[in-house]
């Protein structure tokens, strides 16, 4: 098995992240407010169960005009997490994770995309490993119970404390601690994304065969995440970020049919993430300008200083605008005046 060793590349990025001019704005509101003890216990139990349990189940994923049905097998016993997700309808897609190694199998393209999950650092995987990191940004509250997939679940409402992230609603198995349903809720209170188990076996015997790809991938082309090794010089620009967001990753990528080299920056607040793509010398004039939103995904694009900047993420439009405007010197969205989304307490 492969140890998720920190590459020199990562060290450089860490250094960059530590010295960058990127700075998050202070968190508005009562950032010290902590959730009740029972919520903290429930969150801790959920994290433990999601990592450590052996389970299998079927869930539906919905967003905008899209529905997928997936099956998941997870083995946590033995100290090393292994899991496999496979689509049950539509195009065959499979994601196999072994520790920090992640493979996405695309049978119709004869390809395996190989990547490495960030080894819990520099940004902890907050919801399951370190929910405390989210308390200044989101308010966690109990909100009764419901049955999901034939099991009793406790509901936790996760409300953003400002307008720069979506809310969540979590259904946690009362007995086993697994996350049985999770909704992403936008600023209008609409559910924009949803995962819900239709059946789950919380005490499954997950054997090796169930964790191995169902397709013979021996003839598939392995596509490594080699772009990660391209390190860039510091950008000429920098900017403020909405509260709580941190730079996670910065790299060069070749994207799209025309294979243009763009700079890709990934930001996260521990639960929500945003990407910035910068085309240093756009050759086309039909790239996105302004805002657009599709289900949970928001995007902002602008030409500025000979570059084209695109900001995308499963966040409110305010967030992609905030970041985009600071990169392009444009007007910033004044959402602070509207009051933090989570101040209704």
């Amino acid at each position: 098995m492969r140890k998720p060793a920190m590459s020199p590349w990562w060290a450089v990025v860490l250094l960059f992240a530590a010295t960058t001019a990127w700075a998050s704005e202070p968190v508005p509101g009562d950032s010290n407010a902590e959730p009740d003890a029972d919520v903290r216990v429930l969150l801790a139990r959920m994290g433990e169960a999601m990592r450590g349990r052996d389970y299998e189940g079927t869930f539906i994923y919905r967003r905008a005009d899209h529905v997928d049905t997936l099956q998941v097998f997870h083995r946590g016993s033995g100290g090393r997490e292994r899991e496999r997700l496979i689509t049950l309808a539509g195009k065959a897609r499979e994601i196999v994770r072994d520790g920090d190694d992640v493979r996405c199998i695309l049978p119709d393209r004869g390809k395996v995309l190989v990547g490495h999950q960030h080894s819990r650092k520099p940004f902890p995987t907050a919801l399951f490993d370190n929910p405390e990191a989210l308390f200044p940004l989101y308010r966690f509250e109990r909100d009764g119970g419901e049955r999901i997939a034939g099991r009793d679940a406790e509901v936790i409402q996760v409300s953003p404390r400002d307008a720069y992230r979506f809310g969540h609603r979590l259904w946690v198995d009362s007995e086993a601690g697994l996350l049985l349903r999770s909704d992403v809720i936008d600023e209008a209170g609409e559910i924009v994304e949803q995962i819900i188990f239709t059946n789950v076996d919380v005490n499954a015997q997950v054997d090796d065969a169930e964790l191995a790809p169902s397709t013979d991938v021996s003839t598939f082309a392995e596509v490594p995440d080699s772009a990660a090794e391209v390190m860039l010089t510091l950008p000429a620009w920098s900017g403020d970020l909405p509260p709580g967001y941190q730079l996670i990753k910065r790299r060069q990528r070749h994207v799209g049919a025309d294979q243009v080299a763009v700079e890709h920056l990934l930001f996260s607040d521990g639960l929500s993430s945003v990407s910035v793509f910068i085309d240093p010398a756009p050759e086309r004039d039909d790239l996105l300008q302004g805002d657009t939103r599709h289900g949970a995904a928001s995007a902002f694009g602008a030409y500025h200083d000979g570059r084209h900047v695109t900001v995308v993420g499963e966040v409110p439009v305010a967030t992609v605008e905030f970041i985009g405007a600071r990169l392009t010197g444009g007007e910033t969205a004044d959402v602070a005046g509207a009051g933090p989304a989570g101040t209704a307490q």
Partner: protein
Amino acid sequence: MSDPIREQLSALMDGELPAGEQDLLLRRLDADPALRAWWQRQHRAREVLRNEASPYMEVDLAGRVMAALDDDSGFVAETVKPNGASWWRPVAGLAVAASVATVAIIGVQQFQSQGDAPMLVAERLPTSGTPLWASRENSGITRVVAAADEGRLRDPRLDAYLASHAEQAMMLGSGGWLPYSRLVGQVEETPDGLALDANR
């Protein structure tokens, strides 16, 4: 809303409306928010129904979604079961989230008659004469795209960016299966070769 209109819309959804009647109907849809809302609900219901057909689904989604549709549920009225529960709420919510300004039904015939949109067709659709909503029927997805999405669709790179974002966000390992599912969704939706870095 008159029954003939609903019948026409149902025919459109089924890919059975003559080309000559499509233009007028689409213009009507464009101008009438209530009609648009009804149209979207029907689409949602059909989508859920198709997924319900999966043997893996234990939940009686279809029944609940149908029950949730209001009185004017038209062609699906006979399948309504009165055991509502609250399942439909997310469904309706998603429909609302997907609805922006104007709904356009992507079809080759429609775009062929509109000078400003052929790029979409070239990039997203097979160049057969089949309307997208008909060809997608077979793959289990009927697609309704809001006009505000045109910017997204027109930007030849946005899908690629979204897929790239989904992939990297997945590697953060936070949020359970949501990031995985997002990647699956992105790869699913994106035309071959466009989305993921081909030369990685």
